[in-house]
Amino acid sequence: MKTNIIIPAAALAAFTLLLVCCGKTKEKDMTPPEIIAVGDYTSPLNCQEFHVGSVLPFAWAFSDNDELGSFNIEIHSNHDHHTHSTEAEECPEEDGHDHGEPVNPWVFNKDYAIPAGTAFYEADIKIPIPEDIDPGEYHFMIRVTDASGWQQLRSVAIHIQ
């Protein structure tokens, strides 16, 4: 009598164990993409200065262990000096600079595609800086995804005069 009960119970436990241990599928991507510098050309760099009306060159590279997705560039005002953590500490402030309420802060937000099947991509984009924006501290946010949906961020502090 007793074995009659133990056998189905054991069979079920073994079945569960089998499913648990041996459901091996293809290697899944667990690595987020990377945002990497491109030597001397890298731009913008932390604490770099730019001028209103000029062109801000964007030159960074993206790499992934598998396949890149797309990237986004966002520029927003940092008049209140909030902190982002991916780059070095705050840049030295200039004397006599007014950190009052922004009047016409620059907002730039654009999504860019990366060709399918690419594991390494060097971006080269010229961003015109409008004439009429408030000069001051800005954050330059770089975001990139890979094909699996992992995301990487980098924040660079820039100064616009």
């Binding site: 009598m1 569960t16 599928t25 293809k26 966002e74 995804t145 949906g149 995301q151």
Partner: protein, 692 residues
């Protein structure tokens, strides 16, 4: 149309007995209790909830293997059963499905935990009785204890150290001849809670925490309920009006995109609630009638629920959205009308047939400048038949079928501001179109329970379903809470699930063993897939469907050493895999790691106890974007309780100290885990009850 709904019916088992058994979930009648349902289920009474008193009802219940609390802050948490939560489990209060904004991951249940008399957790598909949503299980909450004295009552006072919470709950009730009444009043106030860190990193922001306080997570809650009832020889009726209100702050630095521009001094007080905050009010009016004759019984329910939820935050511009005129970011008003009717017929002492029908109408309206779900109405109805045959005291079988039809009507939504189109012309963008969908579902379940000797063996196999919710069909907007863009898919099919549940129990004189393995297959699980595209800098997430396999078990052993000492070990394990689609090979979001709990309990005098337990969780490296792996952890916890008699008054005391060693750890299923917030350190709760 409403008349049709009100005319609809269904049966349901309603219960007015109170479980006053010992704190352990195994009473004397455990064999009968196990034989009662062929699905895995656990029943706990009010004593259990009080002895395991934590910040929220779900945190109290998370000591049950297979039950998880998905917390947000210290005062709110959502239930999950075997890792499935939100709309994949049904929470029913006195048999009526609790309808709030279940889809939301940033708020809790709108239920007064002190009004609860008994909870039945069904760990498996409950579609047969509850229709859509009960895929992962059912949390059946009962508040319908029948008073016996002309006047009786209880006052509970409670407090917690970590979030400086204080509360009072009063229950007054009485019975005179055939009539009875019951009144519940509860109020709670809690401050910002503390975690064991001075700094957290959210997205790419670095946020210092003053004294480890998670700023603006304070909250308060007020609940009231009144029941009037009649008990006759054959007929019973109770009419209940209850209201639950809560207001709580969101962690100030993790809500909204531009919190950095805030001038609010969040650190001024731990008790104030600044923007951003949420409030919710849930009103329920419920009438239950029961009639029993010779060999049959009838039950009928009518209920109206009104759920009103608001999120307020500082108005800020984002992308092309200008600064909104006020702080009302989101407002949801949901009305739910439920009608149920059913009956049980005993064809013979061994065979019982149960039939039922139910209908539900939901009406949801949104407001505010943030769009996440569209306006909608849904009308659903279902009929079912269950037959239960008892061959002997040791063997019973049951089988049932159910048919459901659901109609969903979603209204279009257009932005209140303009966005330039491809040619640069400003247009009011349509975020959601008009969607009309009809869904049909046929579900079934069959099970058997067999008890040879000291064994209780159970098996149940069943199909359950879930109709896609309007958010999954029609969402199209920024989810500021998680920093992502969510896009619905209007063509989703009803989610289906097949599940095999097995229960292996051995009941000895001093030792009881329990193993509940399960195996679950979803041909089309609805999954919010993180994609690789951006929308104005926010990663795009889209609702898709994928095959999903889930399997796991809960295990429990209770060993009564002497009349004073009891040892208990329990644990849970879950394995989930997406078997198709964009995330083939990955697990599901918020997959709980394995957990184990080992405790020793010393009982003294009649009702005193001291219990020490070690809770261990494994590391969770099975993740999907954007989750992070979570390390394993352990905590040491203490609980103690004793009752005293003061004249006619019974004084109940209870103490619980969580995380005695003040260890810093992360809970993988906590909402704030995504933004790197650890769990609270040492935390003591004290409860004082006066029964008169």
């Amino acid at each position: 149309m409403i008349a049709t709904i009100l005319a609809a019916f269904m049966l349901q088992v309603q219960d007015t007995t109170e479980v006053l058994g010992p704190a352990t979930i195994y009473g004397e009648s455990q064999r009968q209790e196990l034989m009662h349902l062929t699905l895995g289920s656990v029943e706990v009474g009010r004593n259990y909830i009080e002895n395991n008193f934590s910040g929220t009802l779900m945190q109290s219940l998370s000591a049950i293997p297979g039950v998880q609390a998905r917390s947000i802050g210290s005062g709110q948490s959502k239930p999950a059963i075997r890792g499935l939560g939100f709309n994949r489990i049904a929470v029913a209060v006195d048999g009526i499905k609790h309808e709030g904004q279940q889809w939301g991951d940033d708020h809790g249940l709108e239920i007064d935990q002190f009004s609860v008399d008994r909870i039945e957790v069904v760990k498996g598909p409950g579609a047969l009785m509850y229709g859509s949503d009960a895929i992962g299980g059912v949390l059946g909450i009962y508040t319908n204890y029948l008073p016996v004295e002309p006047f009786e009552g209880r006052v509970n006072l409670f407090g917690r150290s970590n979030n400086l919470s204080a509360g009072i709950s009063t229950r007054l009730q009485g019975r005179k001849d055939h009539f009875y009444w019951r009144l519940h009043l509860t109020g709670t106030d809690y401050a910002d809670y503390k975690v064991l860190t001075d700094e957290i990193e959210y997205y790419s922001y670095r946020i210092p925490l003053k004294n480890g306080t998670l700023r603006n997570t304070a909250g308060r809650e007020a609940d009231a309920a009144l029941t009037l009832g009649y008990v006759g020889e054959h007929f019973r009726n109770d009419f209940k009006v209850s209201d639950t209100w809560a207001k709580s702050g969101f962690f100030a630095n993790a809500h909204g995109l531009e919190v950095r521009l805030s001038d609010i001094d969040y650190d001024a007080s731990r008790r104030d609630i600044d923007l951003p905050w949420q409030s919710v009010n849930h009103l329920t009016v419920h009438n239950h009638s029961h009639y029993h004759g010779t060999g049959y019984s009838l039950d009928g329910d009518l209920a109206w629920q009104w759920n009103h939820r608001q999120e307020r935050s500082e108005p800020v511009s984002h992308g092309y959205m200008p600064i909104p005129p006020d702080d009302l970011e989101r407002d949801f008003q949901k009305h739910t009308l439920t009608g149920k009717f059913g009956g049980k017929v005993d064809f013979s002492p061994r065979n019982q047939l149960q039939v039922g029908a139910d209908a539900e109408f939901q009406h949801n309206r949104r407001d505010g400048w943030g769009f996440i779900i569209p306006d909608f109405e849904t009308l659903s109805g279902g009929v079912f038949v269950i037959d239960r045959h008892t061959f002997s005291e040791d063997l019973n079988v049951n089988a049932g079928i159910r048919y459901d039809h659901v109609y969903t009507s979603i209204h279009s939504y257009t932005d209140w501001f303009t966005t330039p189109d491809e040619s640069g012309t400003p247009v009011y963008k349509e975020r959601s179109g008009d969607i009309l969908r009809h869904f049909d579902s046929f579900t079934w379940s069959a099970g058997a329970a067999w008890s040879p000797g000291r064994w209780v063996l159970k098996a149940n196999v069943g199909k359950s379903f879930r109709v896609p919710i309007p958010k999954e069909l029609g969402a199209d907007g920024v989810n500021y809470h998680i920093f992502r863009y969510e896009k619905g898919s209007p063509d989703l099919d009803p989610e289906q699930s097949y599940q095999l549940d097995v229960g292996i129990n051995w009941i000895g004189e001093r030792l009881t063993l329990r193993l509940d393995p399960y195996f679950n297959w979803f041909p089309n699980y609805i999954y919010l897939n993180p994609g690789s595209n951006y929308y104005e800098g926010l990663q795009m997430y889209t609702y898709t469907q994928a095959q999903v396999l889930r399997t796991g078990f809960e295990a429990q052993a209770v060993w009564t050493l002497t009349s004073h000492w009891e040892l208990e070990a329990k644990g849970e394990y879950l394995y989930a895999r997406q078997m198709s689609g964009a995330k083939k090979g990955y697990t599901l979001p918020f997959c709980p790691p394995w957990k184990a709990d080992v405790s020793a309990k010393y009982s003294f005098l009649e009702d005193g106890f001291v219990k020490l337990d070690v809770r261990i969780a494994g590391a969770q490296n099975e993740i999907v974007p954007p989750e992070k792996p979570t390390d394993g952890w352990y905590t040491l916890n203490l609980s103690a309780g004793k009752n005293f008699r003061l004249g006619k008054t019974l004084v109940k005391t209870g103490l619980q100290v969580e995380n005695l060693l003040n260890r810093r750890y992360y809970d993988h299923t906590n909402y704030y885990r995504l933004i790197g917030v650890p769990e609270p350190g040492i935390n003591a709760s004290l409860m004082l009850g006066l029964d008169f």
